[in-house]
C-alpha cells in the first residue's frame, strides 16, 4: 500500500477518501448524524428493542411460557385493562407474547441479515470485480441456491444437523444453538439475492474513472475494494437488507410451524403473526395480528431509518 498521499491527490473524484481523511470522515458523519432527527428516533427504538430482547421482565413481568400463564377461557378476548393487547388463540396475553417474542425475532432477523450480507456482499464484490470465470462460477452457484425452495432446503438443513438432546447443554446454550441453526438455514438460501445486487453495483462502479485511476496507480485490489468499491456500491444492498430483516423475522415462523424452527414453547413475532393471519381470525380478533405486526414494523422502520441516516452521513457523493 504505497504512497497514499500521491494516490489521493491524483485520483479524480473519489468520494470515499483515504486514511488521512478517515478520522474526519467519521467526525463529519457524526456531525451530520447528530442533527438528523431520523437518527435519534431510530436509535431510541433500537435501544428499546434491544433492552426488550435482553430483559423482557422489565416490560412484562410474567413469562408467557410459564405453566398456567395462558388460560384457554380467555381465548381471543380483545384488549382490556388486564391485557392491553388482548389474548391470543390459546388465551395467552398478547402483550407478554409480543414483549417476550422480541428476543427470538430480533436475534433471528438481525443474524440472518448479517450473514446474508456478509456472504452476499463478499461474493458479490469478488464476482463483480474479478469478472470472467470467477463471476461465471459464483453466479451459477448462486442460481442453484436461489432455486432451492425453503421448504426443501430448510427441512434438510435442520434434519442434517439435529439439535442434540440430553447433551448436557444448558437451556440458554441450546436456545442460541437453535437460533443459530435457524439463522443459517435461512441465510444459506437467502444470500443469492444480495449477491446479485452487490455484483451489479460493483459492475457499475468498477469502470468509473477514480477506480481506473487507482488501478493504474497500482493500488492493491483489496484496498481498492475496501476504499472505493464497497462505499460506492453498498447503497442498494443496504436498502434490500433492511427490508429483508423484516422478511426473515416473518419467515422464521414458517420453519417453526414445520417443527424445524424454534422449539416449543416458541415465542416470536413471526409465530404470533402467522397464527393470527387467517381471514376468520383477522375479522374476529384483529388484535392478535395487529400488535405483533406493529412491533415488527417498528423494528424494520428503525433499521430503515438508521440505514438511511447513516448513508446520508457517509455518502461519498455528498462530500
Amino acid at each position: 500500500m504505497t504512497d497514499i498521499a500521491t494516490e489521493e491527490s491524483l485520483v479524480p473524484t473519489d468520494p470515499a477518501g483515504g486514511d488521512d481523511r478517515e478520522a474526519s470522515l467519521w467526525g463529519d458523519a457524526w456531525d451530520v448524524l447528530r442533527r438528523n432527527p431520523l437518527f435519534w428516533i431510530s436509535a431510541v427504538l433500537m435501544v428499546l428493542f434491544v433492552v426488550m430482547a435482553a430483559v423482557p421482565q422489565l416490560f412484562a413481568p410474567n413469562d408467557p411460557s410459564a405453566p398456567g400463564a395462558c388460560d384457554l377461557n380467555n381465548a381471543r378476548l380483545g384488549p382490556s385493562a388486564q391485557a392491553w393487547f388482548g389474548y391470543d388463540l390459546q388465551g395467552c396475553d398478547v402483550y407478554a407474547l409480543t414483549i417476550w417474542g422480541a428476543r427470538s425475532s430480533i436475534l433471528v432477523g438481525l443474524f440472518t441479515t448479517l450473514v446474508t450480507v456478509i456472504i452476499g456482499v463478499s461474493l458479490g464484490v469478488i464476482a463483480g470485480y474479478a469478472g470472467k470465470w470467477v463471476d461465471t462460477l459464483l453466479s451459477r452457484v448462486a442460481d442453484v441456491f436461489f432455486a432451492i425452495p425453503l421448504l426443501l432446503g430448510g427441512i434438510i438443513f435442520m434434519y442434517t444437523f439435529p439439535t442434540p438432546t440430553n447433551s448436557g447443554l444448558s437451556e440458554t446454550a441450546l436456545y442460541f444453538l437453535i437460533v443459530f441453526k435457524v439463522t443459517l438455514a435461512m441465510a444459506i438460501l437467502g444470500w443469492p439475492g444480495l449477491f446479485r445486487l452487490m455484483r451489479s453495483s460493483v459492475m457499475q462502479v468498477k469502470p468509473q474513472e477514480y477506480i481506473q485511476a487507482s488501478r493504474a496507480l497500482g493500488g492493491s485490489p483489496l484496498r481498492i475494494i475496501r476504499r472505493h468499491i464497497i462505499p460506492n456500491a453498498f447503497a442498494p444492498v443496504l436498502v434490500v437488507a433492511t427490508i429483508d430483516l423484516g422478511g426473515y423475522i416473518a419467515t422464521e415462523a414458517t420453519l417453526s410451524f414445520l417443527g424445524i424452527g424454534l422449539q416449543d414453547p416458541a415465542i416470536s413475532w413471526g409465530i404470533a403473526i402467522s397464527s393470527a393471519s387467517q381471514l376468520g381470525y383477522i375479522v374476529a380478533a384483529p388484535h392478535m395480528l395487529l400488535f405483533p405486526s406493529v412491533f415488527l414494523s417498528l423494528t424494520v422502520l428503525a433499521f430503515i431509518m438508521m440505514g438511511e441516516s447513516l448513508r446520508d452521513a457517509l455518502d461519498p457523493k455528498l462530500r
Binding site: 384457554l72 390459546q90 414458517t254 417443527g259 416449543d264 397464527s275 376468520g280
Partner: protein, 543 residues
C-alpha cells in the same frame, strides 16, 4: 381406513384444522329440506386431486374415494342418514354361522359400459384386488376370506403367488355366489359396502393395461366419469342405472381446490355449489354461518381423534399416570375454544355414528378433574423429564396440541413440549419406526360403520394400526368371541365389553369425535352429507 387428505399447510402455514373440523353435534346431515328442487341441472363440488388411479381396490383416500362413491354400486349401500347398511345390488345376504355367506344379486344392474352385473364380476374383482402381484392398496379388506393367504406373494420381487383366486369365493350361478371366511365374521355384511368390494366390469378385468380405466372407471353406480383432468373431474348421470339411489342432477363437476379457504370463498360467492370443509378460522363466532345463512350444515361423522402412548416410553406404562394425563384435559373447554364447539368430547374409543356405539367406556378417566388428576399423577411418581406430544405440522394440529400441553403444564406441573414434525409422512415414519417417546396423535376414520372397525384394526394384538403396541389377551379373546357371535346384538354387546377393557388399560387417550361442517350455494337444495363425511349426491337438487 380411508385416508383424509392432510390439510395442506402452506409454507406460511396458517393452515386449517379445517379438514378435520367438526360441528355442533347435530345428528342430521341434512341442510335445508324445505325448498323444492327440480330434476336435472348441473352442480359443482369441491374436489381434490386423487392420489391413486380410480380403481376401487386401489383408492384409500377421500379425493379419489368421493368420485368412486358416486360411480360405483356395491352389494350394500349405507343409509346416508343412519349409516345402516341396506341391500343395493344384493337381493339377499344369508348366513347361519357367520362364516358361510350366500349372496343373491338383483337382476338388471348395469355397468356404465352397458354390460350386466353378474356374480363373477364380484368374485373376479375381489380375487384381482386380493392377488398380491397386483399390488392393490385395499387388498387387506379381503383378508377374512378363506384362501386369501394363498393369493399373497411368495417371492421377493412379488411376481407370483400360490393362487390367483381365493378358495372362499364360489360362483353358483349368474346371480348367486358364496363367501367362506377363515373364521367367523359377524359383521361381514356391514363391511361389504366399502368401496373395495365394488364389482368390476369384464372390460376392466380383461384389460391388460388398466391405466385408462383408472382415469375413466366403469362402475355400476348412479354416475359415470366423463372427463378427468388435473383441474376437474366430471361425472354425469348414468341413464341405465337401475338402483334406488337415482340422482336428480344430470352432471356433477368436482373442481380441484388446493385450499379449503378458496373453496369456502367460492361457495360464499356462489361460484361453487358444495364444499365439505369449512376452514377452522371461519368457525370462530360462527362466522361461516353468517356468511352462508340458510346454506350451511353440520354432521357427526365416523372420525375419532386420540393420543397414543409411545410403547417405547417405559414411564408411560403406568396406568395411573395415563389416567392422570387423560383427566387433566378439559375437553369441553378445548372443543369450545379451539374448535368453537365443532367437535364433541369423546367418552370412549368408538364413534357415536356406528352400530354398537355405547357412550362412556372411558368413564371418569375422560372427565376433567384437575384435583383427582394431580393426586393420581403425584401418586404415580410423576413424569421424569420432558413429556413430548408429537403432531404433524401440516394438519393444523398445533392448536389443540398447544392447548393440551398448556393444561398438562398447569394442572399437573409436567414439563410438556409439543413436538412438531414437518408433515404427516415424517410423523408416520417416526411412529412406524417407534422412534418417538411421550404421546403422539392418531386419528381414525371408519371404513364401514361398525363398532368392530374402531377396535380390531387398532387395539388387537399385532394389529396393523396398533401404533401403541397395545396387547391384552382378554381384549383379544373378547374380539374373537364377538366376531363369532350369531346375532349382531350379541356381537355388539361383546364388542362393548371389549371397549370397557380399554377403559381400564387406557392404551390411548380419547380426545374428541369429529363432525363435519359443510356449506352450499343458493342454487342447490336437499344437500345431505353422509356419516362418512361424503356427499349424498343422489339427494342434492338444483332449485
Amino acid at each position: 381406513m380411508r385416508v383424509r387428505t392432510r390439510s395442506i399447510a402452506a409454507v406460511a402455514l396458517a393452515s386449517s384444522v379445517a379438514l378435520l373440523a367438526a360441528a355442533c353435534g347435530g345428528q342430521s346431515g341434512t341442510g335445508s329440506t324445505t325448498a323444492q328442487g327440480q330434476e336435472g341441472g348441473e352442480i359443482s363440488v369441491r374436489g381434490c386431486t386423487p392420489e391413486n388411479p380410480l380403481i376401487p381396490t386401489n383408492t384409500n383416500e377421500v379425493c379419489g374415494g368421493n368420485v368412486l362413491d358416486a360411480v360405483t354400486a356395491k352389494l350394500v349401500h349405507y343409509n346416508s342418514d343412519t349409516a345402516k347398511p341396506e341391500n343395493d345390488i344384493a337381493e339377499s345376504i344369508e348366513t347361519t354361522d357367520n362364516q358361510n355367506f350366500t349372496i343373491k344379486l338383483k337382476t338388471g344392474y348395469k355397468f356404465s359400459d352397458g354390460t350386466e352385473v353378474k356374480a363373477h364380476n364380484f368374485v373376479d374383482a375381489w380375487n384381482w384386488g386380493a392377488y398380491g402381484p397386483n399390488g392393490q392398496l385395499n387388498s387387506y379388506f379381503f383378508e377374512p376370506i378363506e384362501g386369501f393367504a394363498d393369493t399373497q406373494c411368495t417371492d421377493e420381487a412379488c411376481k407370483t403367488a400360490k393362487s390367483e383366486t381365493m378358495s372362499g369365493l364360489k360362483v353358483v350361478d349368474d346371480y348367486t355366489f358364496t363367501i367362506k371366511t377363515t373364521s367367523p365374521v359377524s359383521n361381514l355384511p356391514v363391511r361389504l359396502g366399502y368401496t373395495a368390494f365394488a364389482p368390476q366390469s369384464d372390460a376392466f378385468l380383461n384389460a391388460s393395461d388398466k391405466t385408462e380405466l383408472g382415469k375413466l372407471p366403469i362402475g355400476a353406480g348412479p354416475f359415470k366419469v366423463t372427463s378427468n383432468t388435473a383441474t376437474e373431474i366430471v361425472i354425469e348421470k348414468f341413464a341405465d342405472y337401475s338402483g334406488s339411489n337415482k340422482p336428480h342432477v344430470d352432471k356433477v363437476t368436482f373442481k380441484i381446490y388446493n385450499d379449503t379457504s378458496a373453496a369456502f370463498n367460492d361457495v360464499v360467492a356462489n361460484n361453487l355449489d358444495l364444499t365439505d370443509v369449512i376452514p377452522a378460522d371461519q368457525l370462530v363466532g360462527d362466522a361461516w354461518k353468517s356468511q352462508l345463512p340458510d346454506r350451511n350444515g353440520s354432521r357427526e361423522t365416523g372420525i375419532i381423534q386420540v393420543m397414543t402412548f409411545s410403547s417405547k416410553d417405559t414411564q408411560l406404562k403406568n396406568v395411573d399416570l395415563r389416567r392422570a394425563l387423560s383427566m387433566a384435559i378439559d375437553r369441553d373447554l378445548i372443543t369450545k375454544q379451539i374448535f368453537n364447539g365443532a367437535r364433541t368430547p369423546a367418552t370412549g374409543w368408538v364413534s357415536p355414528v356406528v352400530d354398537g356405539y355405547k357412550a362412556g367406556a372411558c368413564g371418569d378417566n375422560c372427565t376433567f378433574n384437575k384435583d383427582e388428576a394431580k393426586k393420581l399423577y403425584d401418586a404415580a411418581g410423576g413424569y421424569d423429564g420432558t413429556l413430548l406430544l408429537s403432531v404433524n405440522g401440516d394438519g393444523g394440529h398445533k392448536l389443540w396440541a398447544d392447548a393440551v400441553c398448556n393444561q398438562w403444564k398447569a394442572n399437573l406441573g409436567v414439563d410438556c413440549k409439543v413436538n412438531i414434525t414437518p408433515d404427516f409422512k415424517t410423523l408416520r415414519q417416526q411412529i412406524n419406526n417407534r422412534e418417538l417417546t411421550g404421546l403422539f396423535r392418531s386419528g381414525w376414520q371408519m371404513d364401514y360403520p361398525s363398532i368392530e372397525n374402531f377396535l380390531t384394526p387398532i387395539y388387537a394384538t399385532g394389529a396393523s394400526s396398533n401404533d401403541g403396541d397395545y396387547s391384552n389377551a382378554n381384549f383379544d379373546a373378547k374380539l374373537k368371541e364377538a366376531a363369532a357371535a350369531t346375532s349382531s346384538d350379541e356381537a355388539n354387546t361383546l364388542y362393548q365389553e371389549a371397549e370397557q377393557i380399554l377403559g381400564q388399560d387406557m392404551p390411548t387417550i380419547p380426545q374428541w369425535y369429529q363432525n363435519s361442517q359443510f356449506g352450499y350455494s343458493t342454487k342447490v337444495t336437499n344437500v345431505k352429507m353422509t356419516p362418512f363425511s361424503t356427499w349424498d349426491l343422489s339427494a342434492v337438487q338444483v332449485k
